[in-house]
């Protein structure tokens, strides 16, 4: 039984004792989680004990009412210890935001959110699908009336190409066509409890990096109530919440990961300097380059976060559906996912063989391997193709 989390002010969330403990556990576990490609159970349990899984839930539903800036900060701090844990935290908070902002008075979801906080339930998402070529905005599987029931139950079956921490989550948020005759882009989000579903893992997860996210493919099948379908169309949820929140929180994962790699490089240079007092080690020049790169990286991520926060009011909301915003939020993802690889590579150059070796205070192999996942999560080429089309009508700088 998870202990009842204490109520904490949003601004104190990351300073809370519980979260600091989660950070310590994440740091301790990071190497083993990566080596064994196992879910960071201890870190996620520590996040549960801190009440962190309910942070994004609005206060009226018993959560901490944390804003995206608070969640970004928490994601960043986690990622400095373990990027896989940070990514799991970020993905969960993205699902929470989709539900909290788009439940539109749905009774089922109004009852679900306090339960999520109470039980610290972890939500995974099944948006990818075999056959859609990685396009978030297309589904093949549909929600439809259940065949073996006379009531108003619904059912679906989906072949998801990856579900991050699918075997370790409590609930699943799935994109589906809104009916058997709906077009591929006419989607809804459906929340189901994994304990009540049939799931079959159909591939494994032995990857270059982000090994702790444990994201194999699954076939998932569920029967649910009509109330478990979020009442707002997925196109709106994607434009206003899922896409911007994903790109912003992922960018903070990558920024945290890069920051730790650069800090290791900095410590390495400092150690070298100590050995030869009075001379600046040659690697210090590379470190200076890295520092400039990080300043740019931080500014890019901060600008993306600031714009999103400034638009989170009634008038700003319509901006999320404009072409200009779509281009900018895609640019944030592309830029941050490339910046993280460059930073980790730079750190490796500075640390040399000490960075190349696994283990030890200057090792950045895990960072570099984790960083390479960034360009693949919603492939940068897909985003470039989208932006290329959007830029045919959008006039940059206007």
């Amino acid at each position: 039984m998870t202990p009842q989390p204490k109520a904490v002010e949003p601004r104190d969330l990351t300073a809370s004792e519980g979260f600091q403990e989660a950070l310590a556990v994440a740091a301790r576990e990071a190497e083993a989680v990566d080596r064994e490609a196992r879910f960071p159970s201890a870190a996620v349990d520590a996040l549960r004990a801190a009440g962190a899984l309910g942070w994004g839930v609005p206060r009226e539903y018993g959560g901490a009412g944390a804003q995206i800036s608070d969640l970004s900060n928490a994601t960043f701090e986690l990622s400095r210890r373990c990027a896989a844990t940070a990514m799991i935290f970020a993905m969960h908070q993205i699902q929470v935001a989709c539900i909290s902002r788009h439940l539109a008075g749905s009774l089922w979801f109004e009852n679900y959110l306090p339960r999520l906080v109470r039980e610290q339930r972890l939500i995974a998402s099944a948006t990818s699908e075999v056959g859609t070529g990685g396009d978030l905005r297309k589904s093949i599987a549909a929600i439809q009336p259940a065949t073996d029931s006379s009531g108003d139950l619904l059912q679906f079956e989906k072949k998801a190409s990856t579900i991050s921490y699918g075997a370790h989550a409590d609930d699943l948020l799935t994109t589906l066509r809104c009916g058997p005759n709906a077009g591929p882009g006419d989607q809804v989000l459906v929340l189901t409890h994994l304990s009540e579903m049939e799931t079959k893992q159909v591939s494994d997860w032995d990857t270059l990096g982000m090994r702790g996210t444990c994201s194999p493919g699954f076939v998932v099948r569920a029967t649910c109530l009509p109330g478990q379908v979020l009442p707002v169309s997925f196109s709106t949820i994607a434009a206003e919440t899922m896409v911007p929140c994903s790109h912003i929180l992922w960018a903070h994962v990558w920024l945290g990961l890069a920051s730790d790699a650069v800090m290791r490089a900095q410590n390495f240079v400092r150690e070298q300097a100590r050995q030869n007092p009075g001379t600046t080690p040659p690697s210090a020049l590379r470190l200076s380059e890295l520092s400039a790169h990080m300043a740019q990286f931080r500014a890019t991520v901060q600008t993306g976060l600031n714009e999103y926060v400034s638009l989170l009011n009634a008038e700003g909301r319509s901006t999320f559906s404009t072409i200009g915003y779509a281009v900018r939020i895609n640019n944030l993802k592309i830029a941050a996912s490339e910046a993280v690889v460059e930073a980790c590579q730079g750190a490796l150059r500075v640390c040399g063989v000490m960075g190349y070796k696994n283990g030890g205070p200057y090792s950045v192999g895990r960072h570099l391997r984790d960083a390479h996942s960034a360009a693949l999560m919603i492939a940068n080429d897909r985003l470039h193709a989208t932006n290329a089309a959007l830029l045919l009508v959008h006039r940059e700088g206007k």
Binding site: P184, D186, S235, I323, K398
Partner: protein, 81 residues
């Protein structure tokens, strides 16, 4: 004007409906228009009506159906006069 728009929608939106079934209020996105197709449609409309949609108008609501497209074009033409 709406019939001109309807013809352009039929040719460029990727919506697989016969011309007569594309009503003024048919939701084009629901009928299968992708965001890429909506861009193609915008360009075709700009070309046909000799105008440029301002950035604030390049959003989902404006290109949702023939009525909303006609309103948008009229307001742009009004400003240009």
């Amino acid at each position: 004007m709406k019939d001109v728009i309807r013809k352009i929608v039929k040719d460029h939106s990727g919506v697989a409906l016969p011309l007569a079934e594309i009503k003024d209020s048919t939701d084009l996105y629901r009928a299968g228009m992708t965001s890429y197709a909506s861009v193609v449609l915008m360009i075709a409309l700009e070309n046909e009506f000799g105008l440029e949609f301002p950035d604030g108008m390049l959003n989902r609501d404006v290109f949702e159906n023939i009525d909303s497209i006609a309103n948008a074009i009229e307001s742009v033409l009004q400003v240009e006069k």
